[in-house]
């Protein structure tokens, strides 16, 4: 079945394999060895982006399971948007964040996917489809993924209001971001975004210098401090932007910030060297600081999290066997191994059931349910990152993703916001 058989056409083999795999799942035999078509040996998919494209393990496992060769290129967010729009033929799969989807999709360089071809579509976490994590959830501010997940039809570049059959991006990783702190150096309880403004931390704080994300953190801080009340933090009006930037400039002039960081490594270095004690941070950066033996906590705050998410989108030019292979890759992606791999790094994956089947009970309990670890918790590379008894900062998946205040966003006044942000950096 898995060997190339001259008697069968390629599609038939594929369909058969998919059907079999589907049947395996349908009958609840989760965790049984997956069977994938192995006739993709000559298929190469060029994938580029910020998130999962950094992980070679995924490419290796994908090659082993499906035969598809993934060529991964990792770039920073700005470069990703640039390349996605200006060089649409240089990639087959774009690994982009949802706020980028809002920018890139209307440029007509990507094609929407037919949900019927996505095997686990119904199992994707509803944040990405209906927008509601649980039926009673309120959709957070900003570019919530569900608002850019569907277009009106095949070939359309117009985002649909509700759910349609045409899906823009398959969610890969997402997470809820908050402030990172050095518990040994802050010397007080931190429970609000406004604590970054405490005069005690003068010259020992940092926020990130990526305008579209930095402005969100700034907004969370301003709102917590009662300085501005926003209509929608993810889509500010010009006066709201002015007020936010003016406040940032004042804070900068007062010497509250030690530096602004732009890359992951910079944030890790600022924290480990003790240059800052409280700053905007990304979850894996906190893990990286801890891995160096320096205490660091990803502090949950009462105002909630700033969330982000990334997904895989297909290039417009994909067709024929390459397009089939892309669908197969996506189905493989959601089938569990990749999800478990990502969950073990503290990210969240799109289809929880399949990921769970690929993790131990203890791992699932620690990463997803907020339970104390029973044994050592290891990174996907096998390094012990938490000892038995440790509890994840912020608790369970539902506690963290259920308290999202805002999603990373692109505003209608984007160009104006960036001009003002430059003013802030130059001031």
């Amino acid at each position: 079945m898995t060997k190339k058989n001259n008697g069968f056409g390629r599609r038939k083999v594929l369909k058969g394999a998919a059907g079999l795999a589907g049947a395996a799942f349908g009958s609840g035999v989760v965790g049984a060895p997956m069977i994938w078509a192995q006739n993709n040996k000559n298929i190469v998919l060029r994938q580029f982006g910020t998130g999962v494209s950094n992980m070679n393990e995924i490419a290796e496992k994908c090659k082993a399971d499906t035969g598809i060769t993934l060529q991964m290129t990792a770039l920073d967010s700005d470069a990703v948007v640039q390349r996605a729009i200006t060089q649409p033929n240089s990639y087959d799969i774009a690994d982009i964040e949802y706020w980028m989807v809002k920018k890139v999709f209307p440029a007509n360089v990507l094609q929407a996917m037919n949900v019927k071809k996505i095997k686990y579509f119904d199992k994707i976490v509803p944040i990405f489809t209906s927008g509601k994590l649980t039926p009673t959830s309120v959709i957070a501010q900003g570019t919530a993924p569900n608002t850019v997940s569907f277009v009106e039809g095949q070939g359309s570049t117009k985002f649909a209001k509700g759910q349609t059959e045409w899906f823009t991006a398959i969610p890969t990783i997402y997470n809820a971001d908050t402030l990172g702190i050095r518990p040994d150096l802050v010397g007080r309880k931190i429970d609000s975004w406004k604590d970054i403004l405490d005069p005690k931390f003068k010259g020992k704080t940092s926020i990130l210098n990526i305008p579209s994300i930095g402005i969100m953190d700034a907004a969370m801080i301003c709102e917590a401090a009662g300085i501005i009340k926003y209509g929608d933090k993810g889509n500010m009006t010009k006066p709201e932007i002015d007020k936010t930037i003016d406040f940032l400039i004042k804070t900068k002039k007062d010497g509250q910030f030690r530096a602004f960081w732009k890359t992951f490594d910079e944030s890790v270095n600022l924290m480990t060297s003790g240059e800052v004690v409280i700053q905007s941070m990304w979850s894996p950066a906190v893990t990286a600081v801890r891995a160096k033996g320096v205490p660091c906590v990803y502090q949950p705050l009462k105002e909630g999290y700033r969330a982000w998410g990334g997904g895989l989108a297909l290039a417009k030019h994909l067709s024929g066997p390459q397009l089939d292979a892309a669908y197969e890759y996506i189905n493989w992606y959601l089938s569990g191994w990749a999800g478990a791999f990502l969950n073990r790094q503290g990210y969240y994956s799109a289809v929880l059931d399949t990921a769970k089947a690929n993790m131990t009970e203890d791992e699932w309990g620690y990463w997803m349910e907020g339970k104390p670890a029973k044994g050592d918790i290891k990174s996907p590379q096998g390094k012990v990152i938490e000892k038995a008894g440790a509890v994840r900062d912020g608790g369970s998946f539902y506690e963290r993703m259920g308290h999202v205040a805002c999603w990373n966003a692109v505003m209608d006044e984007d160009r104006y916001m960036v001009q003002k942000w430059n003013q802030f950096i130059a001031s």
Partner: protein
């Protein structure tokens, strides 16, 4: 035969002219053309607009940033000149043996065996709050609080500029000094000039071409730099090139192109001013 003779000089300059045309004139012309284009989030649109220049020149941020960049360039120039001139003077006039001159000159170039970026970044752990400099000073009892201005400040930016670019001053000045006829110095001495008078009235004027060449290197590099400013100021300061990098990262190429044209004009004016003061060709 005669005809060929008339054409020979043109044929001789053709290769270089072509290189300049393809790698200098055409790219710059493209930048100038794009600087008049329109743009939105996703694309640049051919047009002829003055908007990019208007937005740029009417924004106080631009003026602030240019001022900051010129300030960086001026301070860096002064420091690299003083340090570079001193080193060159020592090498040229104090070190007598040619062997030692060569050896010491090579020593000056050793840092250039590593990458620019590494030499820059290695200052960060040294200057940091818990870095070597602060630790040493505190243990010596000279200070009780870490000096915060050492890192992520204009101080650290200038420090790194000086570290990186002093050699660009040393080399041309040293070269000029080596060409000075030693008998001139003896004559000055015989005429009763003090060491200082010899330096100011004889050596300095004769080093002008070297100083001018070094100055052009340092000033143009600093005016166009963005990596050092971003890394060493921790994102707290801006420079003109950093503004361009920001604009480009947001696909605002026409805005960046307009800024590049303005920067080019400013830098050319600075260089032209230097050429007015010193005739470089005289010494080459």
């Amino acid at each position: 035969m005669n005809r060929f003779k008339n054409w020979a000089p043109y044929l001789q300059v053709t290769p270089l002219a072509l290189v300049f045309l393809v790698f200098l004139v055409i790219p710059i012309a493209t930048i100038v053309v794009v600087s008049f284009f329109d743009y939105n989030t996703a694309q640049i649109i051919p047009a002829f607009l003055r908007q990019n220049y208007e937005e740029l020149l009417t924004s106080p941020v631009t003026w602030q940033t240019y001022l900051q960049t010129v300030e960086f360039a001026a301070i860096t120039w002064l420091l690299t000149f003083v340090i570079g001139f001193t080193i060159a003077y020592f090498l040229a006039f104090y070190v007598r043996s040619t062997t030692w001159q060569t050896v010491l000159f090579l020593v000056c170039t050793i840092p250039f065996w590593t990458s620019n970026v590494i030499r820059m970044i290695s200052w960060i752990p040294f200057l940091g709050r818990n870095g070597l400099a602060n630790m040493t000073l505190m243990q010596l009892g000279l200070i009780h609080q870490p000096l915060e201005f050492l890192l992520y400040s204009n101080f650290s930016v200038v420090l790194v500029y000086v570290h990186l670019y002093t050699l660009f001053m040393v080399v041309p000045i040293f070269n000029s000094m080596m060409r000075i006829d030693r008998s001139l110095l003896e004559a000055a001495l015989d005429a009763g000039a003090s060491g200082w008078q010899t330096l100011v009235n004889v050596i300095l004027p004769l080093c002008k071409p070297g100083i001018a060449i070094g100055s052009i290197f340092v000033v143009t590099i600093v005016m166009g730099d963005f990596v050092t400013v971003r890394m060493m100021s921790g994102g707290l300061s801006a420079s003109v090139a950093l503004m361009m990098a920001n604009a480009m990262s947001l696909l605002q190429y026409p805005a960046a192109a307009a800024n590049a044209v303005i920067l080019l004009i400013v830098v050319l004016m600075i260089v032209a001013a230097m050429m007015r003061v010193v005739d470089i060709r005289k010494e080459l």
